[in-house]
């Protein structure tokens, strides 16, 4: 009998292991990992492809993490069924793992596009370490690559391929890049940087067909244009890995539904990370927030609760820090401007900095900082804690807000007991 069974071995699983071990030093922890790697930093796969980090540095917590935390790690072991009544997880090959407390941290998978001509050699996802090992084997300087999707994953793939000397084209179906985290004005600045770095960007268009016999030779776009390439990267979004839960009776919407303790609606079963649909305090809805910091924190909270130490999540909202060819971008919170929301924008063309915050009901609810990301976390905190921002509008317009500028009423909270809770 495993006291704690964890399915998945990325950020949420690591958070859970560390959470459990702050409470329970002895209980048996078993981790089932579909991938045959120690927990590695998934966002670093583009750095790995570009040669900026090696196979050692990409490991998240070091090789001795599992032994130090007395974790039984089962690599290459994919869970195919969960039975919350019998409290047993079955892995591929039929092995059964009984548990007391279960954490589902199976993450997400790239969306498979139904493209005409799919299934040829040279066609890749850009999602896990194996994808990059395969890419590393086949790409050569001077090759041409097409990346489908101008989101976070697609653009990081494009940047890495470009740094490896490939001629890269990005095809994005929406009118602008990173449309899930940027507005059009900031996306235009990014697009210019990316074009200047040698990547061709095509928006408002789709890849309709992959040409070639057994190997990728090119693509045909919705516009009819043909682009020849030997490598095709599909990065058109991700979806939570929940299909193995179909017969489990664990309620799943887009992701697994959890409460503020990261507990599912079945007793003893918790979930964390990209696979869950948790509370977003900004949109005031349940949603999937597939980002690394949220996954770690949700895992930590799940782990503590599993070990009997009550802890609640105040929810997670989207936030990202990312850079492309040296252009730093930090975003957080809501993006769309709806009625009753006020936008403050500060764009400095000479310095190539863009800044935009969104205020709703006197509260800061969204930010984009580009070029100059200094003190961005102060805004993240203001958003998270729903601090009043009405009196700070003049400061916000200047494009810089740090704790010195805050009124004492807010600053005393920031530096007080509840500041970072």
């Amino acid at each position: 009998m495993n006291d704690y069974l964890i399915i998945g071995n990325s950020a949420a699983a690591t958070g859970a292991i560390e959470g459990i071990r702050t409470v329970d030093k002895k209980g048996d922890i078993t981790v089932l990992s579909e991938e045959a790697h120690l927990c590695y930093s998934r966002p670093l796969i583009s750095y790995f492809l570009a040669g900026k980090v090696d196979g050692e540095k990409i490991i998240y917590r070091g090789r001795d993490f599992y032994s130090k935390n007395k974790v039984n790690l089962h690599l290459g072991s994919r869970a195919i069924e969960v039975d919350p009544d019998k409290k047993v997880v079955t892995s591929e090959g039929g092995r059964e793992y009984p548990y007391q407390k279960l954490l589902i941290a199976t993450g997400s998978s790239p969306l498979a596009l139904l493209l005409k001509g799919s299934g040829k050699k040279g066609q890749h996802f850009f999602y896990n370490l194996n994808d990059v090992y395969h890419l590393k084997e086949i790409i050569k300087e001077g090759d041409s690559a097409v990346v489908v999707g101008g989101g976070l994953i697609g653009l990081k793939a494009a940047e890495a391929l470009s740094l490896k000397g490939l001629k890269v084209t990005v095809v994005e179906k929406t009118p602008y890049l990173l449309s899930s985290i940027l507005n059009q004005a900031s996306a235009t600045i990014l697009e210019e940087r990316i074009r200047k770095s040698g990547i061709r960007v095509i928006v408002n268009n789709t890849v309709e067909e992959i040409t070639g016999t057994d190997k990728v030779e090119g693509v045909i776009l919705g516009s009819g244009e043909r682009i020849s390439c030997t490598t095709l990267v599909l990065a058109a979004g991700v979806k939570p890995n929940t299909s193995f839960l179909e017969n489990s009776g664990i309620p799943v919407n887009r992701g697994i539904l959890v409460n503020e303790k990261m507990e599912t609606q079945r007793e003893g079963v918790y979930a964390a990370g990209d696979v869950v649909e948790g509370w977003d305090p900004l949109s005031e809805n349940k949603r999937v927030v597939p980002i690394w910091p949220a996954a770690y924190c949700q895992g930590l909270i799940a782990g503590k609760n599993m070990a009997g130490h009550p802890m609640e999540s105040s929810g997670e909202f989207p936030r990202n820090s990312i850079s492309f060819f040296g252009l730093n971008i930090i975003t957080a919170g809501l993006l769309e401007v709806n009625s009753g929301e006020e936008e403050i924008i500060n764009y400095n063309e000479d310095k190539n900095t863009y800044y935009r915050v969104l205020i709703k009901d006197n509260r800061l609810v969204g930010m984009i900082k580009m070029g100059d990301i200094k003190e961005a976390g102060v805004l993240t905190w203001m958003i998270k804690k729903k601090m009043p921002a009405g009196d700070l509008k003049e400061k916000l317009k200047s494009g810089s807000l740090n704790p010195v500028h805050l009124p004492e009423s807010i600053r005393s909270i920031l530096y007080g007991e509840e500041g970072v809770k």
């Binding site: 910091p293 924190c297 990202n320 820090s321 990312i322 850079s323 957080a332 976390g377 905190w381 704790p403």
Partner: protein, 146 residues
């Protein structure tokens, strides 16, 4: 362990920044640190003034440090004394720590490395933090630890 700020005593003189730089220089002597070193060191705290308020932005070494929890590489960590530190070899300068730090206490180095820099409580400099020892008004106080 952290440095507590008595901002009512801070007059924004800037000695904390100067001595922070000295603490992180190779000579740890003020004249040499500013004039005599090949690569000038940097301060890891950032004095901000918005009159009449002034104080340094400085890592609070939070118990539940959002920078550590959010770090995508595992480079930001807590040592055994619960001091928040950066493993510079592991860091890729993604700046998720800057996204997460509510104090604006992590900034980008002006050196070529572009690493995030922050207060390390002078852990490699021996003794008490230089800013605490050199604040003429006693506005910075070391709390906790031994």
């Amino acid at each position: 362990m952290k440095i507590e700020l008595k901002k009512e005593y801070c007059v924004g003189c800037g000695l904390c920044e100067i001595y922070c730089l000295v603490a992180h220089s190779s000579s740890r002597e003020v004249i040499k640190a500013f004039k005599g070193e090949k690569e000038k060191a940097e301060s890891r705290l950032f004095l901000e003034i918005d009159k009449p308020v002034s104080f340094p932005l400085q890592c609070q070494h939070c118990d539940d440090a959002p920078c550590v929890r959010g770090c995508i590489t595992g480079a930001m960590y807590k040592n055994q004394e619960e001091i928040t530190l950066l493993d510079e070899d592991k860091c890729v300068s993604c700046y998720t720590c800057i996204l997460e730090c509510p104090y604006g206490a992590i900034q980008i180095s002006k050196k070529e490395s572009l690493l995030p820099i922050k207060c390390d409580l002078c852990i490699g400099s021996g003794g008490e933090p230089y800013c605490v020892n050199n604040c003429p008004n006693g506005a910075l106080i070391l709390k906790g630890g031994s």
